[in-house]
Amino acid sequence: MTTDTHQAITRIAEIIINELKLEDVTPETFDADLDLVDEIGIDSMDLATIALVLRDEYGIRIDEDDYPKLTTVRIIAEYITTKLAEKE
């Protein structure tokens, strides 16, 4: 895992914890492979909110059609890393 991806994972976990007001978990202890829908209980509106915060942070568009693919924090981090690389 690259440092960039690791940083992205921590930051995405932080955003999810903030937006969903999750308790008893920190960005460092958040399991990046948890299924966000099945195990965290995220819905499309939560994901849209998170996507907007990520759009602010990274300056990338998250295509609504891609929502179903964004199933874990790790996958979101990889998605962002790829999008950022495409921008360069």
Partner: protein, 355 residues
């Protein structure tokens, strides 16, 4: 190569830095937990309205047998709750034929709404929102629905009842009658919201809208919203979304299972439309099955389809305000006790491009 500045003029944090937008966003997001499914409670109706989608189409929902066993319904509701459904829409044909089943649903999932023609009152103990359908003045109702004095009878049944809201379905033949109905409801302290006739798949009758009738409807809705702000629960953006020449699917991409193959998240994952025999069919599942998707402007469809497109609207304060008005409107229409705020976007703006 994409450039962040080309993608969006505003950051989301800039948009919600506006106190009125932030306050409204916090108000509506408390309801993001709502997850709906719909249930045909009865295959009987005391009316036969022209163009009724319940009796239309080839999915044969009208021929499904009625399961009248409260224990089976309770079991279904418990299973629905278990899989995360938090809001039920009880429809029909006419749900007021089976009040005991409606009560069973209410006892298990206390947030919901009943779509009724309002001719048989539902007991107060079923404390759901009640949507009472209106298709024009009483003369037109008699022609299209074969029922006399509908509005008077509906108002008698639901006088002083905070569960009730009237849903006026605009067809090409009743556009100007909306004023008379709105005035009557306003005089009796009732509320009204607007729906658009959306043609069933096999329907080619005179109720199908044309560009001219859509424009005419838009003008009348705007006048009534401006003149009866306490009575009409709607917003300029609701008007745009529902009277646009393009239907809801074309404008916003319908997220109901019937049009959305993904089962990963959102409506495609959770929404089901049960028939009276407690079966459901993913290929037919939307809130208005057998409606022609190209002509779909139905209020129930919009309440989910437009609402799901938050991301797309978070590009300018104006678009996000319009989206918030839309969501605020539909929470007021669907959730008992939710009060609509003042509309934030007074102009009729075009929906954003698809992302």
């Amino acid at each position: 190569m994409e450039n962040a500045k080309d993608i969006t003029e505003y950051k989301f944090s800039d948009i919600i830095a506006s106190p009125s937008i932030k306050e409204r966003f916090e108000k509506v997001r408390k309801y993001f937990f709502l997850r709906e499914s719909t249930y045909d409670m009865s295959n009987r109706c005391n009316l036969r309205c022209e163009g009724c989608y319940y009796y239309a189409g080839e999915t044969e929902k009208q021929f499904a047998e009625e399961n009248l066993n409260p224990a089976d319904w309770q079991q279904l509701m418990e299973a629905e709750k278990e899989r995360g459904i938090t809001f039920v829409v009880l429809a029909g044909a006419e749900p007021s034929y089976v009040p005991e089943l409606c009560k069973t649903c209410y006892d298990t999932i206390p947030l919901g709404c009943i779509a009724s023609n309002g001719l048989m009152p539902l007991a107060k103990e079923i404390d759901y929102r009640i949507h009472i359908s209106v298709w024009g003045n009483d003369k037109t109702s008699l022609e299209i629905r074969k029922a006399k004095n509908m509005l008077v009878r509906q108002m008698e049944n639901y006088q002083g009842d905070s569960r009730a809201i009237w849903v006026y379905t605009f067809t090409p033949v009743n556009i100007d009658q909306a004023r008379e109905v709105t005035e009557t409801l306003a005089a009796n302290n009732h509320q009204i919201t607007f729906n658009m006739f959306s043609a069933p798949t096999d329907y080619n009758g005179h109720l199908r809208h044309t560009p001219q009738t859509l424009a005419h409807t838009r003008a009348v809705m705007s006048e009534l919203l401006a003149e009866f702000p306490e009575t009409v629960v709607f917003s300029p953006y609701n008007i745009v979304a529902h009277t646009h020449e393009q239907g809801l699917h074309s404008l916003f991409s319908c997220s109901y299972p019937r049009m959305n193959p993904s089962t990963a998240i959102g409506l495609g994952r959770s929404f089901r439309q049960y028939r009276t025999d407690l079966q459901w069919d993913r290929a037919a599942a939307c809130c208005v099955p057998d409606t022609d998707c190209d002509d779909c402007r139905h209020y129930a469809a919009g309440s989910a389809v437009v609402t799901a497109r938050m991301y797309r609207h978070a590009t300018t304060p104006q678009h996000f305000s319009a989206w918030l008005d839309y969501v605020d409107t539909y929470l007021a229409v669907w959730v008992k006790g939710y009060d609509k705020g003042e509309n934030l976007c007074k102009e009729m703006i075009e929906p954003p491009e698809q992302s």
